[in-house]
Amino acid sequence: MMAMRFLKRSVAAGRQPVTRSIAAALLLILPIAGCSGPQSALSPRGVEAFSIGPLFWTATWVGLVVTLIVVVLVAVALYGPERWRTWLGQDWIIIGGGIVFPVTVLSGLLVYGLLIMQAGAMRSAQVGLESITIRGKLWWWEVVYTTPEGEEIPSANELRLPVDRPVRLLLESDNVIHSFWAPQLGGKLDMIPGRTNELVVEATEAGVSRGQCAEYCGGAHALMSFFVVAMPQDEYDAWLASKAEGARAPATAEQERGQRLFLENGCGACHQVRGTEARGLIGPDLTHVGSRLSLAAAALPNDTKALMRWITDGQHIKPENRMPPFRQFSGGELSALAAYLSGLE
């Protein structure tokens, strides 16, 4: 029970700015220019990442101190005064420095690490959490939300989360092994064919961060990223409700032309645009592609220019990706297509 209370406190303390300012002070000592970055494990914005932070910094400090001790002892052994050297050159220094000291320090670290693990176990033991299924694909992420009514809403390459509410991610793969990692939320967890791994994440503040596949999955592994958007609960609910609807109808003549081209050129064989005849399930769902922050699993920004490049030249941007290049379009057709897709908000 003591352990549990300690855990709760340490996790809660982890969210306090005090810890962060200590962390910032440490950063000045280490040659780290900045640790922010949208994919940095050092600037936590999730409960698990916050609980790991202090453990990481403790271990870092221990490591720094031990390294200093070793360096000083070596210096003394090399150049120290005769008396100090004689004192160092004995069996007991090995027993003290090589056994007693590490056993003590490591016992502390081990227990600390186990307590943080147990905190994770308590988080994941919560029942009744909303769940989101994420499937690793070659080389993108399928993200499936479930509305309160139980309707499944497929999306891709972006994870939207409510702030301050734990969500259970169900991680799966039907091809090779991937690993889901959003460093600001917490640690990674693999997506392994034949299994469903569960990861409970809880964003602590609203904002955008980035994640990436951490297990080498062949081919375009380097270009398999995603954005995490944490939003206040009410905004999240509104967002989810809007995404539960089918695709927006084309608003301009150009978008209408784009939709026709989209359907006539077989894009629907792989892509789904809910509310149209495009029902393909091989590639990412495009029903609301225009509202996403990126294209091609964060390989490109989401704008019309990038869309046009992607359609014709995807193999150069992201080699080996499963979408063949579509070179048959004229410039006008391309921009119509891009206009249609960007309009799918």
Binding site: C35, A49, P102, L189
Partner: protein, 845 residues
């Protein structure tokens, strides 16, 4: 023993004694040098080729660093980059690190033990040539865009044919497969060599630390490598024939590969590190001119590391979703393995401090000191990744890349350079330049830290491993640029070393630089192609320090075995613990057979990979013929009188039974085979735990009636009894025993019939290996039995041939004993398999 005061042999030495020794051990001349089997010659080529691979893989590393210098770089493409990092890791691990350590064992061990050679010189030659040929062909795949690209860990399903069509992955599996065989051959050699060819008086407690390290290194290879051999066999079988070991859809599990691979892969790190640490434990006392402080604790550290390192494999799988408590066990073990490293670090510090004179700063000592610093840092980041939650974040990021380069380059490459500076005088007419050595060190040290320290931070900032490109807005740019600059500085240091090596290294068998460091161990005795003139009687751990006249006495031939009494190559075999002389082993000289055998084996594997079946089979036949030719000459005439090695000790020159080195080698081989089988047993039960519902699945054919395995078991027992009987009817020397060959043949027939019956039983029931994981494991047991029984049949055929040529009798029976030992093992494995396959599914819930 009275020999303490009186030396074993007296002066003057008889005329022609030295000449006979020289004649027996002379190196072949000219191009025939490649048929040499002397450990120094083999060792030098072996190390040279390993260094070549170090440089080649280093160049791949430089290309990687150049590509990553700036974000969005297009120097190399995605596909080639994936080949690059796969080959960089694979080559560094399998073609550089393990071989170079084995090579150092081959070169240094016999010298440190004052043995004339390792007990199986041709096996060393074979292991070395197999590695050279196979390694070069394997490495060259990068030039033809055929290199594997699944990462050095080759995780399925990515490496299954569905996701990795083409031969690239097969090159990895088969190429690595036979490099593993070469490593195991080396390990057998090192174990028997260390335990049985020590000089009289060198008890276990007086062994040089390097010998301890190599002993544990070889024992670890015996246990670790079979796991990855099994895994590579299974993956290749799944790729070629679709047996679903790793496919989740049919009850297999991709994680099985990870368990097997890391059960090898983690100890592998320590397999590389322990010998390097052992070398440091030899260099530090010499430079401090003081005995190693805490010798016993270092031995403790080596043994403990050997054990603990097998309890860490899951820490490569912390993020696979294994239950927390299991992770906790492995986190604890990962902590435990840090303690032995601490012991060693403090022991070296204590030894440096204990020297009466200040520690001598040579190039070798600089590398040792650099190692101390880098390895400490790497060890501590190791503690960080052993903390499960920290690993959740840093796993598979550049933090880990930084960590293991600190451990591997710090823990192994720096000691290796120290080793080269320290021991090259032993085998070269010149030392390397100490002045350039300082440049080499500082370039490497600064370059290394600049290259790899920033990677810690890049990883923490979210940079994953194995990415060929990265966006410029994530804050990783400057760290990557720094790493690239550092890598080039590191490379400059290595290049400078290579230049110095070409300038100064002049290999020689006789009269290297004479003990330039005033070291205390036996490798610094004056030596020649025959090693030392006589084999010293040892009374302490640093004989050269404690017996100041030893070098002179040994060189005058006043210690043991000062000549070549049988006219051939010999060395003394001593008891394993207290090093009492037991017999004189006769060893083969130069020959083509190991070289041709290795070419045959390499050809077999590589041609098979590119599906040239017929040439592959021809290569296989060449391999077998060469091995037969080689083995034919090994078992000497038993009827040779005992020889006098000095101090009135007369030793036999033929030995059979449990004391003989061949018995020991066969025992080690059997241990290897049993670890392979245990890895299979683990896999069987592992897959059952993962998918108990398919064990067997609904609708799968029933097992054959329980009588069926009963009969098969009786056949196996019958074969074993027949062999026991054959042992009793071995003919006396000079006579014949007509029944003997038939009994041996009948025993083998029992095994073959049993194996056929077992396979037929399952096949007749309708079970097919590709059906599901259960069926796959059933047939895999048969396949493993087939392997061992094939070995037994070959040995038995050899034994029968020896009998018919009059080379086998009650005394001269080593061939028969080897056959019998392996067959008894085959019987045990077969029977255990029958119980698992036929009984377990009937009783499992």
């Amino acid at each position: 023993m009275a020999v303490d005061r009186e030396l074993p042999n007296s002066l003057p030495r008889p005329e022609g004694e030295l000449e006979a020794l020289e004649r027996a051990w002379a190196l072949p001349k000219g191009f025939r040098l490649i048929t040499a089997v002397n450990n120094q010659a083999i060792g030098i080529i072996y190390i040279g080729v390993a260094l070549l691979f170090f440089i080649l893989a280093g160049i791949l590393g430089l290309i990687i660093r150049t590509q990553l210098a700036v974000p969005g770089n297009n120097l190399v493409g995605q596909d080639f980059y994936n080949q690059l990092f796969t080959m960089h890791g694979t080559t560094m691990m399998f073609l550089f690190a393990v071989p170079v350590v084995e090579a150092l064992g081959v070169l240094l061990l016999p010298q440190m033990l004052a043995a004339r050679d390792l007990p199986f010189p041709r096996l060393s030659a074979f292991a070395m040539w197999a590695y050279v040929v196979g390694g070069l062909v394997f490495f060259s795949t990068i030039l033809y865009d055929l290199a594997p690209k699944g990462g050095w860990f080759m995780y399925p399903p990515l490496t299954l044919s569905e996701f990795s069509p083409g031969n690239n992955a097969d090159f990895w599996l088969l190429g690595i497969g036979f490099i593993e065989i070469s490593a195991i051959a080396g390990a057998i050699e090192i174990i028997v060599g260390t335990l049985r060819t020590r000089p009289p008086g060198m008890t276990l407690a007086r062994m040089p630390i390097f010998a301890w390290a190599m002993l544990i290194f070889a024992a670890m290879i015996m246990i670790a490598f079979p796991a990855v051999i099994l895994a590579t066999m299974m993956l290749e079988i799944e790729r070629a024939f679709g047996w679903p070991f790793f496919s989740a859809g049919k009850g297999g599990d991709p994680l099985l590969w990870q368990h097997l691979f890391w059960f090898f892969g983690h100890p592998e790190v320590y397999i590389i590190f322990l010998p390097a640490a052992g070398l440091v434990s030899m260099i530090v006392p010499a430079m401090a001119q003081h005995r190693l402080v805490g010798y016993r604790l270092i031995v403790v550290a080596l043994i403990a590391t050997g054990f603990f390192s097998f309890g860490l494999w899951v820490h490569h799988m912390f993020t696979t979703g294994i239950p927390s408590l299991s992770l906790g066990f492995f986190s604890a073990a990962s902590m435990a393995v840090a303690i032995p490293s601490g012991i060693q670090v403090f022991s070296w510090i204590a030894t440096i401090a204990a020297g009466r004179k200040p520690f001598r700063i040579t190039s070798a000592s600089l590398f040792v000191l650099g190692f101390l610093f880098i390895f400490t840092v790497g060890g501590l980041t190791g503690v960080m990744v052993a903390l499960v939650p920290v690993d959740f974040q840093v796993h598979d990021t550049y933090f880990v890349v930084a960590h293991f380069h600190y451990v591997l380059i710090g823990g192994m490459v720096f000691p290796l350079f120290a080793t080269l500076y320290y021991w090259i005088p032993m085998i070269s007419r010149n030392m390397l330049s100490e002045r350039l050595g300082r440049w080499v060190f500082w370039l490497m040290f600064i370059g290394f830290n600049l290259a790899f320290f920033p990677m810690h931070i890049a990883g923490l900032l979210g940079m994953p491993r194995r990415v060929w490109t990265y966006p410029g807005d994530l804050g990783w740019n400057s760290y990557n640029m720094a790493s690239t600059v550092g890598a080039y500085i590191l490379a400059a240091g290595v290049a400078l070393f290579v230049i110095d090596l070409f300038r100064r290294f002049r290999p020689t068998m006789s009269g290297g630089v004479e003990n330039p460091w005033s070291a205390g161990t036996l490798e610094w005795l004056p030596s020649d192609a025959y090693a030392t003139r006589s084999i010293p009687f040892v009374t302490s751990r640093e004989p050269l320090w404690d017996q100041p006249s030893l070098a002179r006495e040994v060189n005058e031939g006043r210690h043991f075995l000062p000549g070549a009494p049988t006219g051939g190559r010999e060395t003394i075999v001593t008891s394993a613990v207290d090093a009492l002389p037991q017999y004189v082993i006769r060893m083969p000289g130069p020959g083509w057979s190991p070289l041709i055998a290795s070419l045959g084996m390499a050809g077999f594997f590589l041609l098979l990979t590119v599906k040239l079946v017929v040439p592959a089979l021809i290569s296989g036949v060449v391999f077998i013929v060469a091995v037969l030719v080689w083995a034919w000459s090994l078992d000497h005439d038993a009827n040779v009188p005992a020889v006098d090695i000095g101090a009135g000790i007369r030793l036999p020159v033929y030995m059979a039974g449990p004391v003989s080195h061949s018995w020991w080698a066969m025992t080690v081989l059997i241990l290897v085979a049993s670890s392979l089988y245990l890895a299979y047993v683990f896999s069987y039960f592992y897959l059952w735990v993962v998918s108990p519902d398919v064990w067997p699945p609904e609708g799968s054919p029933a097992l054959p009636h329980i009588f069926w395995p009963g009969i098969i078991g009786l056949l196996i027992l019958g074969g074993t009894v027949l062999l026991l009987f054959a042992r009793r009817i071995l003919p006396a020397p000079g006579s014949t025993s007509r029944a003997f060959p038939f009994v041996v043949a009948l025993a083998m027939a029992c095994f073959l019939v049993a194996l056929t019956g077992e396979i037929w039983g399952h096949w007749a029931s309708g079970l097919r290996p590709a059906d599901n994981a259960y069926a796959t494991m059933v047939y895999m047991a048969c396949f493993l039995n087939l392997q061992v029984i094939t070995g037994c049949v070959f040995l038995a055929g050899f034994t029968i041939a020896r009998y018919f040529t009059g080379k086998l009798d009650k005394e001269r029976r080593v061939n028969f004993e080897s056959t019998a030992l392996l067959t008894y093992y085959a019987a045990a494995q077969f029977l255990l398999g029958l119980v698992i396959i036929h009984v377990f599914p009937r009783v499992a819930i």
